[in-house]
């Protein structure tokens, strides 16, 4: 009876929320209040896929959903922002009959890494993808090892674990474990032997604390590592990017499967790889996987093209408090080699909580912007001066900087600037403050203009 009530209330609240155009955690919350163990009382499908990690969860889940749809599967999945237990509860109950039977073949869940153990207390994923563990939102998360410890109890013994073999901390989840599928990237022309970031989280072995050796790195601590002291090393991946041609925009997986990249960043390459590994593992034929990822258009709006006066702009959404995300955006835009202006906005550190902490700016390699193609840099938002201090410790020419805390003033300055090409780098929390002052252009097939 409680089960019936919980499902009914959840669905009614969800329906009302949809009618008034407001999604919230309320439907899930109400259901959990009526029946705290509701998730253990519903009949779930044979395939329950979970995706977690610091970066790329949403993109990977969106892409998996796209492939599942192309393969004709019936599935439910949560959209960004509802990845804690309330959101997952609402997702599950709204896909159930009132009797508590899940109506689709597959349940696909993006789960918040810190709260995964709460979400998976009453049911278990059958396939669990962990993308990476970076310095991410440390004002909430503490540090990557703390997050590792938080994820650990959420991993069921009998689930198939799909792990990024190139991330030494993520790989630790699969150590000595059966049912683990590894994915990774082989050495590429852009791989380096020395670390390239401001800090090095791959310096010491996460297992024994010994000094690690890398045959190569793709970025930060992501690469082929081995610890001479204890023997911990990168596993040979079953699914591997054999070629990542970012210039021409395609990947080759396992030497044979060529996939065009909707967005030509390394970041996205790993999302594609995780999606590929998962989809093939759950039994979708390779042809369908390759074909559908190939025609996938980035839908989550991370990349937005806009017009500002005579200039063409591209917003590269980057996560505040996440230096890997920023570094990837900076590398990407410099890699386009077009003369351009770059605008960095830090106004609200998060849209979900308040903090004034900008320590994370010091982990970002802003020196990347000293490339000659970057002709002007606009620093704006409430923390524009913190950005200016950070930039004063890089090789970026002071003459190129414009520092204006007011975003409208900075946008006006940019509009009257010489550059006809603009890249904006900022977070979801701040991007609309820029976009609302521009003319947003429809996304093209290929998000790279």
């Amino acid at each position: 009876m409680r089960k019936f009530l919980a499902i009914a209330v959840c669905r009614i609240l969800h329906w009302i929320g949809k009618r008034i155009g407001r999604g919230s955690s309320l439907p899930g919350q109400a259901a959990l209040k009526i029946c705290p163990d509701i998730l253990s009382r519903v009949r779930l499908p044979d395939t329950v896929i979970a995706v977690t990690g610091s970066n790329g969860k949403t993109s990977t889940v969106e892409m998996i959903a796209h492939v599942l749809a192309a393969a004709g599967k019936r599935f439910s999945y949560n959209r960004e922002g509802s990845n804690q237990i309330e959101g997952v509860t609402a997702l599950v109950l709204c896909s159930c009959t009132l009797g508590g039977k899940f109506k689709n073949d597959i349940l696909l869940i993006e789960t918040d890494e810190r709260y995964a153990r709460h979400t998976f207390r009453y049911f278990s994923p059958t396939h669990y993808v962990i993308t990476n563990l970076y310095r991410d939102q440390l004002t909430r998360n503490g540090h990557p090892l703390w997050v590792y410890e938080a994820i650990l109890p959420s991993i069921p013994k009998d689930a198939v674990l799909l792990l990024n073999a190139d991330d030494p901390l993520v790989s630790l989840f699969g150590r000595g474990r059966e049912n683990t599928v590894w994915f990774g990237m082989e050495r590429q022309s852009f791989s380096t032997e020395e670390p390239t970031g401001i800090y090095d989280d791959g310096k010491y072995c996460p297992l024994c604390g010994g000094k690690m050796r890398y045959a190569y790195r793709h970025f930060h601590h992501i690469g082929a590592y081995a610890c001479p002291a204890c023997g911990y090393r990168r596993e040979e991946p079953a699914y591997r990017i054999t070629e990542a041609d970012l210039e021409n925009g395609f990947l080759t997986i396992n030497g044979t499967d060529k996939i065009p990249l909707a967005f030509r960043s390394l970041y996205n390459a790993y999302n594609v790889l995780a999606c590929y590994a998962l989809c093939v593992t759950v039994g979708i034929d390779r042809e369908t996987v390759v074909g559908s990822i190939g025609n996938y258009v980035l839908k989550n709006g991370r990349v937005v093209n806009f017009r500002l006066g005579e200039a063409l702009g591209t917003l590269l959404t980057s996560k505040h408090e996440n230096s890997v995300s920023y570094d990837q955006s900076l590398r990407y835009l410099v890699g386009q080699k077009e003369p351009c202006a770059v605008c960095v906005i830090v106004d609200a550190v998060s849209r979900k909580y308040f903090t004034s902490d900008v320590s994370w700016l010091w982990d970002i390699d802003f020196g990347i912007l000293s490339a000659p193609c970057v002709e002007a840099v606009y620093l704006t938002g409430r923390y524009a001066y913190d950005l200016a201090v950070r930039f004063s410790y890089t090789d970026v020419d002071k003459q190129k900087l414009t520092v204006l805390p007011s975003i409208p003033e900075a946008v006006a300055a940019m509009k009257s600037g010489k550059q006809k090409r603009i890249y904006a780098v900022t977070c979801f929390s701040d991007r609309d403050k820029l976009l609302s002052l521009t003319e947003i252009l429809p996304n093209k097939e290929d998000a790279t203009p």
């Binding site: 800090y199 004034s356 320590s359 200016a388």
Partner: protein, 241 residues
């Protein structure tokens, strides 16, 4: 005169951008016309603490801190001598716990720390203390801003460096934050504390110019000052509304 700076465990206790505290000191000291040299030393490296005028170490994971402690214990005497000689040491984040009596870890195991000072530390295995901070020190004319990101609490601190105006202290029911004695300064604030608080950096710079026997020149206010004011304003608006 050459001023020598040491970033201790630069590759281990550098979780929130603490390396920038060295950058701040290097720049501020150079602006005073002093020659500056910075060393970075970590696990197993040979170090003579008495060669340095100013030493700092930052925050690390709980695991990293234990490894730093094991490495530091046999060096206790050298460290203690350097402090007795009046060499400055700034410990930020959880590294402050290394210098107390003992540390109780997340699983309840008690380990002796360096024992240079009488406070003790308790580490939680499940809860972190996370907060923006505004705090005031008698040594500084203006408040300091920052962020605390730690799983530890300090008990038995007799001479805290700061009084907490907003945020968390050494432990839950303690209005004090950090610790100081002689030339030792500790705060649980994390990250580039001296970048965020240029007046705190100036405090050390003044001490070092005195030591070098040269007159201290007020630095021209730059973006650092404006950034500090913006953060202080944001925090006061938030906490005092």
């Amino acid at each position: 005169m050459k001023i020598r700076l040491l970033h201790l465990y630069d590759d281990l206790l550098n979780l929130y951008g603490e390396y920038a505290n060295l950058s701040a000191m290097e720049r501020a000291l150079s602006e005073q016309g002093l020659e500056v040299e910075t060393d970075r030393k970590s696990l197993g490296d040979e170090v003579n603490f008495s060669e340095y005028d100013w030493i700092t170490l930052g925050a690390g994971t709980e695991k990293a801190l234990k490894r730093a402690l094991a490495d530091l214990l046999p060096r206790k005497e050298g460290l203690s001598t350097a402090l007795a000689e009046g060499r400055f040491l700034l410990a930020t984040g959880n590294s402050l716990s290394l210098f107390g009596e003992k540390i109780t870890d997340g699983e309840g195991r008690v380990e002796p720390a360096l024992g240079l000072f009488s406070y003790e530390t308790k580490v939680s295995g499940s809860e972190r203390r996370l907060s923006d901070e505004v705090c005031q020190s008698d040594l500084l004319e203006e408040p300091c801003v920052g962020f605390m990101n730690t799983a530890q609490s300090l008990y038995g601190v007799k001479t805290p460096l700061f009084r907490v105006r907003h945020g968390l202290g050494n432990s839950t029911d303690d209005g004090g934050e950090g610790f100081f004695e002689g030339s030792f300064f500790g705060t649980q604030l994390t990250g580039p504390v001296l970048i965020k608080n240029p007046h705190f950096a100036s405090f050390f710079v003044k001490k070092l110019t005195e030591k070098a026997g040269i007159p201290y020149r007020e630095p021209t206010p730059g973006y650092e000052r404006a950034a500090y004011e913006a953060t202080l304003k944001a925090l006061c608006e938030r906490f005092e509304k």
